[in-house]
Subunit: 357 residues, 2 copies
């Protein structure tokens, strides 16, 4: 059976890192139908929209999407609905990709890259499960209006709506509990239940789902405290589950603890395991086209694609082992380079992974 995969390289370093991941996927000897389409700023330039209909249809029609990165400062002046980021929001919504899995792993070979002390982060391995299609990201109504009463009556006001429905929280709870079952069986749900109704509602549902997973220990933490504890003692976490907005902030903070965000993949899944796979880092327009970006996060995203959407766990393991091997060999792109290692380009790193497969 042929698996159709949409390859959306996007902007900045997107094309060059995606190219290396495609080489790796192609080398595995699987029956894959890889189809490329423009997305983000590149699609805006070519077709006037960051998520053209043909790109969206290809994505909807594929088992999985390999996504590079989108965005560039040069699009900051565009109307919001034409900016590159809208492509990723549109794909999440259209495909119902509600479950974002973002591992924050510190590879032992890269312990020095972190801005934290080695003893705080060595061996770090946490998984952030972020809800990705609800919350204040998509809540209606939103906009700018006139204030109807109170001290600011008559003024203009920007506003948004945060909300979560019961089944939205339930389904991400199940994803998170199951992920915890496969790991160290500790799940920390992060919210702001001391202030927000949405958070209290979220917390109540997490508590209601917990008895279905008696082997998992559920705890709760306020988001401000979680932002602190990630800095203080990140290894105390196993799996963290949280809403879209808090997850945006905490997953980036957690990734940066490793100091090697160029190594971190992510998966965004829907109920039928269709998924979008992308590196945790951005499009880095400042180094685009220079063959110096780190392709490993994208290559590891391809491994997640195989594991979650194609049920090819053994092939995913192969890729992950190959990445470990190139790190062992001392090969480093500029972002993770340190004295005593070998600095390589994007394509040389791809070559090395292919060879190690």
């Amino acid at each position: 059976m042929t698996h159709k995969i949409a390859v959306l390289p996007g902007d900045g370093i997107g094309p060059e890192i995606t190219e290396q991941a495609v080489r790796v996927l192609t080398a595995l000897g699987l029956d894959l139908d890889l189809q490329t389409a423009p997305v983000g700023g590149a699609a805006y330039e070519a077709e006037g929209h960051p998520l053209p209909a043909a790109t969206l249809n290809l994505a909807l029609d594929s088992a999985a999407i390999l996504f590079g990165a989108v965005g560039d400062w040069k699009y900051d002046q565009l109307a919001r609905e034409l900016r590159p980021e809208q492509a990723i929001l549109g794909l999440r919504k259209a495909l119902g990709l509600f479950a974002n899995l973002r591992p924050a792993i510190l590879y032992p070979q890269l312990a020095n890259a972190s801005s934290l002390k080695p003893e705080i982060v060595a061996g770090l391995d946490i998984l952030i499960v972020r809800e990705l299609t609800g919350d204040i990201y998509f809540g209606q109504p939103r906009g700018v209006r006139e204030v109807a009463d109170g001290p600011f009556k008559g003024e203009r006001q920007g506003y948004d709506t945060m909300h979560y429905a019961e089944s939205e929280v339930r389904r991400i709870a199940h994803v998170a509990f199951r992920a915890a079952q496969k790991r160290n069986k500790r799940l920390c749900s992060v919210d702001k239940a001391n202030v927000l109704e949405t958070s209290q509602f979220w917390r109540d549902i997490m508590i209601a789902v917990a008895p279905e997973y008696p082997d998992v220990t559920l705890s709760h933490m306020y988001v401000d405290n979680a932002a602190m504890q990630l800095v203080r003692e990140p290894k105390a976490f196993d799996v963290v589950v949280t809403g879209n907005l808090f997850g945006d902030i905490l997953s980036d903070e957690a990734a940066m603890l490793t100091g090697s965000i160029g190594m971190l993949p992510s998966a965004s899944l829907n109920a039928s395991n269709q998924g979008l796979y992308e590196p945790s880092h951005g499009s880095a327009p400042d180094i685009a086209g220079q063959n110096m970006a780190n392709p490993l996060a994208t290559i590891l995203s391809a491994a997640m694609l195989l594991r979650y959407s194609l049920n090819q766990g053994a092939q995913a393991d192969r890729i992950e082992a190959a990445v470990q091997a190139v790190l062992e060999q001392g090969l480093r792109t500029a972002d993770i380079y340190e004295a005593g290692t070998d600095k390589v380009t994007t394509s040389q790193m791809g070559d090395a992974v292919l060879k190690a497969l």
Copy 2:
């Protein structure tokens, strides 16, 4: 002229740390009328409400409030409106304390306490200016309702409203720009303008206010990126201004970078410089009553009180110098203790500051 000051010790370690700050304030020879009232869980126990009318009236009628800390897990089961945190939210709202100033300073003597590498945090000195009476904290409507249409129709849904009116953003912008003028003249406004209407509105107003402060350089950063950059290179920041919710998260993250949150004061001010002053740390019920908590954040909060609400900058300087002196002498409470220093109790630390004055 007598200055009336409300002393609200609160819960957990609140009473013992406040006691030391009161000793320091009293020793300065100023004409102060210090009046104590219960707040938080302590007030709930005594009077059935976390913010009794008499406490609120005392606060409204004072030039400034010295606040200890509120909260204890034992109140987690209470209805939201009776929980200790409601006292602090109620005081902020009733007094219009819209401007929260939270310095994150790493004292050179305490560089080892941080979980970050010394070269990343040594000399850290950033100021987070957090808007404190608007945003999703107080936005209406909020609650739990039935979903009217769409895929979750008929389900229960928790919801909240985020909003900012024009003058709310303007006044916090002015506070932040002025603070930046007194420091290194760099202001970073943090928002999520690529997703939220409230944030785009916030950003537009920051940009509109900027020309009034031509000597300050304004930049903008998305909140997820800010959470990362605080970990990666915190010293790149000077003053950060942000909304209530993002400020809650980022100010705690920034405080924890120092590893010595027991040292960090905060001020919450209204338009007439009436203010509430409290340590950045919490009520730490686990160590309450053991005479081991660090009183320095509260003592430094008293210094901020003198500077901002009583216009007694020289007296504030005196307190801050005394705190520097006790650190120089090697005195440390348990939270900042390390081998080679002298471990002291809460009251011994208070004694030492008094002596150093």
